[in-house]
């Protein structure tokens, strides 16, 4: 069975500062994908960033980047220059194995960006 753990239920950051959200996972597969999704109050899940496990280079998308530590099974999300619109629930997710469409989600981290 695969698991995803987000140990920070809530975090806050001041606008324009940098924040890092933690995620650890467990899977016996070698080929898998990791994701960070954002869920604002509108409930619409939005993909923030994706990492293929076979790629050593950390993924980046504008202000969002990840620190992927495969041996440690760690996948943290760094948000730079935080904006008020970044306030949302953030979910880490794992897709692995032959049924890698079946994503396993963590419980989420509620991020609040303060003005």
């Amino acid at each position: 069975a695969q698991t995803v753990t987000q140990s920070q239920p809530e975090m806050s950051v001041q606008e324009a500062e940098t924040v890092t959200l933690s995620c650890t996972y467990d899977t016996s597969e070698n080929n898998y994908y990791l994701f960070w999704y954002k869920q604002p109050p509108s409930r619409q899940m939005i993909l923030v960033i994706r990492q293929e496990a076979y790629k050593q280079q950390n993924a980046t998308e504008n202000r969002f980047s990840v620190n992927f530590q495969k041996a440690a099974k760690s996948f943290s999300l760094k948000i730079s220059d935080s904006q008020l619109g970044d306030t949302a629930m953030y979910f880490c997710a794992l897709g692995s194995g032959g049924s890698n469409y079946k994503l396993t989600f963590g419980k989420g981290t509620l991020l609040t960006v303060n003005p």
Partner: protein, 115 residues
């Protein structure tokens, strides 16, 4: 273009009644997923459709839950004899095809409340 749409947005029903939730995926997406999100929790996989293949129903919590999809279009999730523990947000997603490589696009969800 149009995203994934779900209806109704909110549904309140009495314990023991049947409910039907609808999902319209993005046109051309062959893969469709249903997830359940209980309050304060991550998403739980329920069921997956890929084209004309047999669906993966491994996440359905009981035989009161069923889902159908007509070809590569609309899907309905039916919950019979609803129970209070069925109260949750039900999210639908679609993707170009059914591997984790392809981004899952989510709808806004249906919030189900069983009284």
């Amino acid at each position: 273009g149009a995203g994934v749409s779900q209806s109704p947005s909110n549904k309140v029903t009495e314990k023991g009644k049947d409910v039907e939730l609808r999902c319209d995926p993005i046109s051309g997406h062959t893969a469709l997923y249903w997830y359940r999100q209980r309050l304060g929790q991550g998403l739980e996989f329920l069921i997956y459709f890929q084209g004309n293949s047999a669906p993966d129903k491994s996440g359905l919590p009981s035989d009161r839950f069923s889902a159908e999809r007509t070809g590569e279009s609309v899907s309905t999730l039916t919950i019979q004899r609803t129970q209070q523990e069925d109260s949750a947000v039900y999210l639908c997603a679609s993707s170009a095809t059914g591997t984790a490589y392809y981004e899952q696009y989510f709808g806004p969800g249906t919030r189900l409340t069983v009284t």
